[in-house]
């Protein structure tokens, strides 16, 4: 861990902070310029029976008559301290609502992620070493197959086969171990496909490299060749894909939770959308953006640790000699 890396990490962290704040502002602005004002709609609901003056008093008390930038500042400063406001429907703190469903979604997402990784690496290993006659081609076709089947279909099939036919889990107990496992499989399969696609392409590339042949010539077993030589360089581009797949994990969990009847962030979002519960939506969207930023930050921070060749400083004055010099740029510069 040298100073160049720390400087790089600090820079990336600062960038991540800026992006998170911008994401929050963007959601806030979009929500406030949307036509229709759910807050006054609620207040004006005849069932609530507020008078015009009471409505004005409530709006003033909540600071909703302030200019948008002031409202934004109030909201953002509250958000940073973990105060996401009150749900408009249940009048309970949004933070509490989210905290109630978060563990279930986190369990599902992390299990799905682990399954996706395991599947992808297994498929990757198979494509390199499984003999052609034993279905290597089939393995190579798996990612496209996984991607082309929507994950709710996978979910329904799993429920039908393992829930109803084999009776491994009871559909009415969505949080039991087996139900969680199969929900994770349903969610993990499409994500494993994305990872596997990139992994296979890179394994193919790396195993053709001279160093793979040299290492084989050194008498390494298949398993060691794969684990020590091929997997690490091939997983570098996969890190980027994984960071992007987290987004899919968030989106996919919504569908999977619905299919398996689990309560989670997905079901919370679904309810909030149908009831226009803006504080909840604002909080969930901002948190999702935050998760995305953090995962990408981790990927960026991990990359130089995985690949020692990554140069951390942008523009150097020194130009490497011939070997590293891109010939295309040199010739292009001269002929253009």
């Amino acid at each position: 861990m040298n100073s160049a890396y720390l400087a790089y990490a600090a820079k990336r962290l600062a960038q991540a902070l800026v992006v998170s704040v911008l994401a929050y502002i963007l959601t806030f602005v979009v929500v406030s310029i949307l036509p229709g004002d759910p807050i006054t709609n609620v207040l004006r609901d005849p069932q609530n029976g507020f008078t015009e003056d009471e409505i004005k008093a409530i709006i003033a008390a909540q600071g909703l008559d302030q200019p948008i930038p002031v409202q934004l500042w109030t909201s953002l400063s509250h958000f940073v301290t973990g105060d996401f406001g009150l749900s408009m429907r249940s009048s309970r703190p949004v933070a509490t609502l989210i905290a109630e469903v978060l563990p279930s979604t986190l369990t599902l997402a992390s299990a799905a992620f682990a399954i996706a990784l395991l599947l992808a690496v297994t498929i990757g290993y198979g494509t390199q070493f499984l003999p052609k006659r034993l279905g290597q081609g089939l393995l190579r076709g798996l990612p496209s197959l996984f991607l082309s089947v929507p994950n709710f279909v996978i979910g329904l099939i799993l429920i039908h086969v393992f829930g109803f036919q084999l009776g491994l889990f009871r559909v009415i107990e969505p949080n039991s171990f087996w139900a969680t496992l199969f929900a994770s499989i349903a969610l993990g399969i499409p994500i494993s496909a994305r990872i596997a696609e990139v992994l296979i392409a890179n394994l193919d590339k790396e195993s053709e490299q001279e160093y793979a042949a040299v290492a084989r010539g050194r008498g390494l077993t298949q398993m060691r060749l794969f684990a020590r030589h091929l997997l690490k360089p091939s997983s570098l581009p996969v890190v980027t894909v994984i960071a992007l797949a987290i987004g899919e994990l968030l989106g996919g969990s919504l569908i999977t939770e619905t299919v398996f009847g689990r309560t989670g962030i997905g079901s919370l979002v679904q309810r909030s959308v149908s009831t226009q519960d803006l504080p909840v939506l604002q909080a969930v969207v901002s948190l999702a953006a935050l998760v995305f930023v953090i995962v990408n930050l981790l990927a960026d921070l991990g990359y130089p640790l995985l690949d020692p060749r990554v140069k951390l400083i942008g523009d150097r004055k020194y130009r490497p000699t011939t070997a590293d010099d891109s010939p295309a740029t040199v010739t292009a510069a001269v002929t253009s």
Partner: protein, 570 residues
């Protein structure tokens, strides 16, 4: 790997009489290799005795590397080898991978061609060295590490601990090749297969690496199977030679016999193509430039580089890439910049092309000042000043046709009508010896030599005065190189071109240059005419460069291993 071959092999083993002479360590008999329907190696046979060395020679495509891969059982999955390969009496071609693995590394070591791509880039050298050390069945990690460090010292690496902790990209090509040789000899194999171990390296490094291989071979009694395209190297380093063309043996025998009196026309051609053995091959063509040199001395030089200095700052350290560099090139002659990697040749080229600005000093080409120009003003200078890059495999856009590639400079400078450009392109291609049928092809359909001809045509098409040749043949075989050299010299004789020729290959410089500057650590240590430098070098550095040219004599031919039988069955 057809089953009946295995059967034959077994019958052979049972019925073969006890050999009177010791069994060769490696016996290759009737070996054929094919990729799909294409047979690239046909019925090759040779023997390599213990402690002996044998060189497989040929151009690229001759199948020499394929034979090495077949012996190592590292053929790509589409490759199929048939015939017999017996290592130490044991048939290895049709045993299972599991059965062969104990031989890998332990008994048969492999030194690959391109050291830069032969170590895993994301793992430390130490981690990879430990894999080789593990073959010694030494359970103690500390002892294994000690063995690795000792081996690194043995192959001439200073500061083994630093090497152990380094990643491959921290080391130079020469150092990496020493590491790879170290890893190959660490488990003390009986056979070392070296596939063009020096073709990616500088001439001086090449000599040191080959010396190292020869020394280790003698010290450790290792048999060496050397693959090379350079007859001079093969003759210096091997006891016997096998000359291949298109996968078929042309000639085989003891080195002295094959080298001094080649029986086949092909071997004679290979011999003629080695620059070191034929310094005056192009004397007639080169004389045109020599006359220009004599008459041009009084006139203004085409290129004048005056006291140019360039420094770079890397990690706070100042690196002087060019220090007080001066040279002048009269019109119609070739000036060679000679030196090892890191000597400042490439910086000199970049300065000359205006891609870098010097800290001090001036450069002028065809009377026009290059230094201190805006990018727009440089563009006009580039009409007279073109570059041919060293690697034709990466310098041509693979998605373009040859016509587009050669025409691009004309398009960019807006020269002539569409029809005139087309004619000019055909003319330039004809100049480099390529017919019109190449116009519609793409680089992938061309050989390395043809690609480099396209690159030259691309430089020629603007009718420049000066062409900078940055190691134009270093990625090519000796025979292909000879063709390119001939094209360059006849172009110069016909079109009165001025060349700046950057190279580490002194033998080549002697064949085609008129004046030479020897660069070392950013300085010109010696300069003069080719005759001055080659016949009467003044500086020790120049002398060491000259000594590294492979000459085809000494080395293994005189090595103390003659008691073993002749390896090749000619």
């Amino acid at each position: 790997m057809a089953p009946q071959d295995g059967l034959t092999a077994n019958i052979f083993k049972r019925t073969a009489p006890v050999p009177l002479r010791p069994l060769p360590l490696l016996r290759v008999d009737g070996l054929s290799v094919s990729y799909g329907p294409h047979e690239v190696v046909t019925n090759v046979r040779f023997d390599l005795g213990r402690g002996e060395s044998l060189a497989l020679i040929g151009e690229s495509g001759s199948g020499k590397s394929t034979i090495a891969r077949a012996v190592l059982r590292l053929l790509p999955s589409s490759g199929r080898a048939t015939g017999r390969v017996a290592f130490d009496g044991q048939e290895v071609l049709d045993i299972s991978e599991r059965g062969f693995r104990p031989l890998r590394g332990r008994a048969i070591g492999f030194v690959p061609q391109d050291p830069a791509n032969s170590l895993n880039p994301v793992r430390t050298i130490g981690a990879q060295a430990d894999e080789a050390a593990a073959l010694l069945d030494e359970p103690d990690r500390a002892i294994r590490k000690q063995l690795i460090l000792e081996t690194f010292a043995e192959v001439g690496l200073d500061n083994p601990q630093r090497i152990y902790d380094s990643y491959p990209h921290h080391l130079s090509g020469g150092m990496l090749q020493r590491v790879l040789i170290g890893l190959a000899i660490l488990p003390r194999p009986a056979l070392l297969v070296a596939d063009e171990p020096t073709s990616a390296l500088d001439v001086t490094i090449q000599k040191r690496i080959l010396d190292l291989l020869t020394r280790l071979q003698h010290d450790l009694k290792i048999s060496l199977l050397l693959i090379t395209h350079d007859l001079a190297i093969a003759a210096e380093r091997a006891n016997s030679l096998v000359v291949l063309k298109d996968g078929v043996i042309q000639e085989a025998g003891r080195t002295a016999a094959v080298f001094s009196s080649p029986a086949s026309a092909y071997t004679r051609k290979l011999r003629a193509d080695v620059p070191a053995l034929n310094p005056d091959r192009y004397a007639a063509l080169r004389d045109v430039g020599l006359r220009a040199l004599k008459t041009g001395e009084a006139a203004t030089p085409k290129i004048a580089v005056n006291a140019v200095t360039k420094t770079f700052t890397v990690d706070g350290k100042t690196l002087t890439a060019a220090s007080d560099v001066s040279f002048a090139v009269p019109a119609g002659t070739t000036h060679a910049l000679v030196g090892e990697s890191g000597s400042g040749k490439t910086t000199a080229v970049r300065l000359l092309l205006g891609l870098e600005q010097p800290d001090s000093g001036t450069i002028s080409v065809a009377g026009e000042e290059i230094t201190g120009r805006s990018p727009e003003a440089l563009r006009s200078a580039w009409r007279h000043l073109q570059l041919v890059y060293q690697n034709p495999f990466t310098s041509l856009d693979p998605t373009w046709t040859i016509e587009q590639l050669v025409r691009e400079p004309l398009d960019r400078f807006g020269i002539g009508t569409r029809k005139e450009r087309g004619e000019r392109v055909r003319e330039a291609l004809a100049d480099v010896g390529l017919g019109e049928h190449f116009l519609a092809r793409k680089p992938a359909a061309l050989s390395g030599g043809q690609r480099q001809r396209v690159a030259i045509a691309r430089a020629l098409v603007l009718k420049p005065d000066v062409i900078v040749l940055d190691e134009p043949t270093s990625a090519l075989d000796v025979s292909v190189q000879a063709g390119i050299v001939e094209v360059l010299l006849s172009l110069q004789a016909n079109l009165d071109l001025t060349y700046v020729f950057v190279s580490h290959d002194l033998a080549l410089v002697r064949q085609l240059a008129h004046t030479v500057s020897v660069m070392h650590r950013g300085r010109i240590v010696e300069h003069g005419t080719v005759a001055d430098i080659f016949d009467n070098p003044q500086q020790p550095y120049t002398r060491s460069l000259l000594a590294s040219i492979p000459s085809g004599v000494t080395g293994a031919a005189a090595a103390p291993h003659r008691q073993f039988r002749a390896a090749a069955d000619a």
